[in-house]
């Protein structure tokens, strides 16, 4: 006889098991609809792999496991998928969750199965895969995917395999009846597990001593094998995994650890049978044994139920009387939960439907104050201090709760059962555990949010800094430009003197800035009017001359009259010319308006008008003269400024120096002109920049026209190459400074490179 260890605490609630054991296992048959929740296990819900309207066969996978800790779902009978929707599921929350609903056709047509003749020939991974694909999840109540539980690491030696046949909770007899009727299947399943786990020391089946018939059947089936059936005294909750391990081996699973940490793997009897069927017959988990009991059921018993069978269908088979039932419980009276709706389906973890009457399971009386009797601590199988934890839970002192090993509580409810004040202690622990888990999740989430927030903050700062740097660079550039160009109007003025048309444009621009200046307008208008007058006078004079000549030739009688007219015209023309000249002179020499811009125009125009019919040499001479005049003037001004210590002295000095330079240049030009009066030289030496540019362009064109096509292509190539080079350097710069023109530049570069490649090709073809 092997030594049996005891666990701390425990309670002895009335067992109430005989009611449902009067009959053997009965098949519940095929209900008209099957509701398969996607989440019947611990872990991620399965993902549907069938569509609405699709015909499915019995045993066909309709939802696949999603992730490692998950389990697939199979159709438990043949039929058509009528809908995939949210329905109420058996869960303490009474919430809705996604379900696949199948309208059964009653044919119960199996899908083709893949049985294994000799599982000993299978690899461990292959075997695990089959268990996983069969959708097996712990059938004792928790619903942890079995394949995950059985995937022990290779470096962990398992010396003990324990099969849990304890079924310590009152009323439930599903495992008991399984032992009585299907002991051989249990033993076959245990052998598969033995092959899978390879326990080095022992294989034990733990059964409480209140199931003598089941024990006998198991012992008979295990005859001749190395499987030992261990019987121990009945006590709630010896069926807890950790408690059972302690009872059978005397070893304690460390707080927060797993049985595998002490070399033990534990499986439920129902799960063992499911594994046997999955491996040997290839049948997935589509049915289970469920106890229907309670005094509100006239025909209590155990039923082999297709998973997904609605609870009300099953209850009818058990002779359920709604009016007598105070509340419908799924699971046992200790750890079960109340169902709000009888339309929910039977799932993988549904071991019992309990329909008690008012007398049988009265609603808990109102909780009273804790009298610190210590009964709860005595009852606790994990040796916790339920009373302390109760106070901490009420005060929401979660840290203290954790210090008191709240997470070792198996939520067995023994403390609540023992409490004379009827305090629903286990509810406090469940709620506190949930709250702590929630806080941990929130902590993770808030850390994540903080990281993202800070990353964003840094990014924004960086962008700001970049923008600022770019702005500064631009400012710098603008300053440089301004320093070079000083006052734009002055610059325009400076240009206006020697230059012709472009200068005019600049001046006009400058003037536009000072719009509304009446005197300049009149000045310009006057000038225009005078010019026009000169022009018309000239025309009329011409026509008069022509007429006079005609008359003279024809010896016309009105010759005299014409002569006088001609004389008058000549006079008028001279007068108009004089007037114009006078005006021009006046505006050059005595700036009447005081507006520098207007003056500049007047001067520039006067200069142009004067230059119009003069030889280059004359022009040069005049320029030298005017420059000399200006120089002397500005020198005088400079002297004055210096004397008075005015701030303008510096500026004046500069402009004087410039004027001097100009004068030198003009003198040099004049000297040149005096030597050769060739018009080409004049054209070349004209200091009108616009003219120069045009001439250059024309010369280039002429040169190009003279070039051969090969040469042209070469030129084009060269210029393209130069442009590509330039763009490249610009891009590199932009990239370095992280400017946002990078993309545009990149585009341009790509385009230019294309063009260059084309040009190269062309040159290659032609050359």
């Amino acid at each position: 006889m092997r030594k049996i260890f005891d666990i701390h605490g425990g309670v002895h609630p009335p067992e109430n098991k005989v009611q449902s054991l009067s009959r053997g296992i009965e098949s519940a048959g095929i209900p008209p609809v099957l509701v398969h929740p996607l989440s019947q296990h611990i872990g991620a819900p399965a993902t549907p792999i069938v569509e609405v309207g699709q015909r499915v066969l019995k045993g066909q996978m309709i939802a696949d496991a999603k992730g490692f800790v998950s389990a697939p779902v199979h159709a438990s009978s043949s039929g058509t998928v009528s809908t995939i929707e949210h329905r109420e599921i058996p869960h303490p929350s009474g919430l809705l969750a996604r379900c696949i609903v199948i309208d059964t056709d009653g044919k119960d047509e199996w899908i083709e199965l893949d049985p294994v003749e000799d599982y000993t020939a299978l690899e461990k991974a292959d075997l695990l895969h089959r268990i996983r694909d069969a959708g097996i999840a712990g059938m004792g109540g928790a619903g942890f995917p079995s394949a995950v539980k059985l995937s022990t690491r290779d470096d962990v030696v398992i010396d003990t395999l324990i099969i849990n046949g304890t079924e310590c909770e009152p009323y439930i007899t599903a495992d008991d009846i399984l032992m009585r009727e299907r002991a051989d299947q249990i033993i076959a399943g245990v052998k598969i597990l033995q092959h899978l786990i390879q326990p080095t020391k022992q294989t034990l089946i733990g059964v409480e001593d209140n199931k003598p018939e089941g024990i006998a059947a198991l012992r008979a089936a295990a005859e001749g094998s190395n499987i030992e059936v261990v019987v121990f005294p009945t006590k709630y909750p010896s069926g807890g995994e950790k408690q059972l391990i302690q009872i059978l081996t005397g070893r304690e699973v460390p707080s927060g650890g797993l049985p595998a940490d002490i070399g033990v793997v534990c499986q439920n009897i129902g799960t063992t049978v499911a594994i046997h069927r999955a491996v040997q017959y290839g049948e997935p988990l589509i049915s289970r044994i469920t106890t229907v009991t309670g005094e509100a059921c006239s025909a209590p018993g155990n039923f082999e139920v297709l998973l997904g069978t609605p609870v009300d269908y099953l209850l009818k088979l058990g002779g359920f009387q709604q009016d007598q039932c105070i509340r419908l419980v799924m699971g046992g009276p200790m750890m079960g939960f109340t169902l709000r709706d009888t339309a929910v389906p039977v799932v993988k973890t549904t071991n019992c439907l309990l329909a008690p009457t008012q007398k049988e399971l009265p609603p808990p009386p109102p909780a009273q104050a804790c009298i610190r009797c210590g009964m709860c601590a005595e009852a606790c199988p994990v040796s916790l201090l339920p009373q302390q934890m109760y106070w901490f839970a009420r005060g929401k002192e979660y840290e203290k709760l954790e210090e008191h090993n709240l997470f070792d509580c198996i939520e067995c409810g023994a403390c609540s059962y023992a409490c004379p004040s009827n305090i629903p202690l286990v509810q406090y622990y469940r709620a506190s555990k949930a709250e702590i888990r929630k806080q941990q999740q929130e902590k993770v989430k808030s850390e994540h949010a903080k990281a993202r927030f800070e990353a964003r903050q840094i990014r924004i700062e960086r962008e700001e800094a970049e923008k600022e740097a770019r702005r500064k660079a631009r400012q710098e550039a603008a300053k440089k430009k301004a320093a070079a160009g000083k006052d734009p109007i002055k610059a325009a003025q400076a240009k206006a003197a020697p230059a012709a048309d472009p200068a005019q444009a600049a001046i006009e621009k400058a003037m536009a800035k000072r719009s509304g200046n009446a005197p300049e307008e009149t000045n310009e208008e006057k000038l225009a009017r005078l010019k026009k007058a000169v022009e018309t006078a000239e025309k009329r004079l011409e026509s008069a001359t022509a007429k006079l000549k005609e008359a003279e030739a024809a010896d016309a009688p009105n010759l005299g009259a014409l002569q006088t007219a001609h004389e008058r015209m000549t006079e008028k023309f001279a007068k108009a010319k004089e007037e114009l000249q006078q005006f021009e002179q006046a505006s050059t020499e005595a700036p009447s308006t005081g507006d520098p811009a207007a003056d500049a125009i007047a001067r520039a125009q006067a200069a142009r008008a004067k230059n119009a019919d003069k030889s280059p040499r004359e022009k040069a001479e005049e320029q030298v003269a005017s420059l000399e005049k200006r120089l002397s003037k500005s020198e005088q001004k400079l002297a004055e400024a210096k004397e008075s210590g005015s701030e303008t002295a510096e500026v004046l000095e500069q402009s004087t120096a410039k004027l001097r330079d100009k004068l030198d240049a003009a003198r040099a030009e004049l000297a040149q002109l005096s030597e050769s009066e060739a018009p080409v030289a004049a054209a070349a030496s004209t200091n009108d920049p616009a003219q120069l540019a045009i001439e250059k362009a024309m010369a280039a064109r002429e040169a190009a026209a003279k070039l051969s096509p090969e040469d042209k292509a070469k030129k084009a190539l060269e210029s393209l190459e130069a442009r590509v080079e330039k763009t490249r350097t610009k891009l590199a710069e932009a990239e370095e400074s992280g400017a946002d023109t990078v993309d545009v530049l990149r585009d341009t570069l790509a385009k230019l490179e294309d063009k260059l490649a084309e040009a190269r090709k062309e040159a290659g073809v032609e050359g």
Binding site: P366, A367, A369, K396, I423, Q427, A431, E442, K450, F453
Partner: protein
Amino acid sequence: MIELLTQHPFIAALASLAILGLAFGSLLGFAAVKFKTEGDPIADQVEALLPQTQCGQCGYPGCRPYAEAIAEGDAINKCPPGGEATINALADLLDVEALPLDAEEESVPSVAFIREDECIGCTKCIQACPVDAIVGAAKHMHTVVASECTGCDLCVEPCPVDCIDMIPLPTTVQNWSWELPKPAEDLIATDRDSNSSNRDEAA
């Protein structure tokens, strides 16, 4: 010198005290430099307790500024997303009294949702989101990455076409949890059947 000290114990005492003061002062000064704490440890601890929703409902531009303000003595009850739990935690940390929340109610955890066919792609919400939980480009539809959204509400206001909804997070089987039972009436067993007036007295 020795003589002076032996002759005048008062001066000797003064001198030795001065020397001692100097020695310990420099020791302290050295320790202050050597073991200098980076940042503000209290603000750091406070910040670790704040929910990091970054919603600004506390009146500060984010959780960190509020944490700093608390470290400087601001009230601890201004964070609606954190609610009572955060206030209690802060009260524990700072050893002050837990005050009731300074807002009408705790904000319900929710997530922003953009009605995508109404989005005009103005990018205003992207700029408002403190945790970069919105993706989209100018003139293209935007959407909220629900797993990153803290439910701070800041993107709702800037949307010119009002196409952002705040959807309270649904309770699912995965995130459902047991409620704490209503506190037991603190009666002793012998009071069980007494009427309500007695009960009031006992309470």
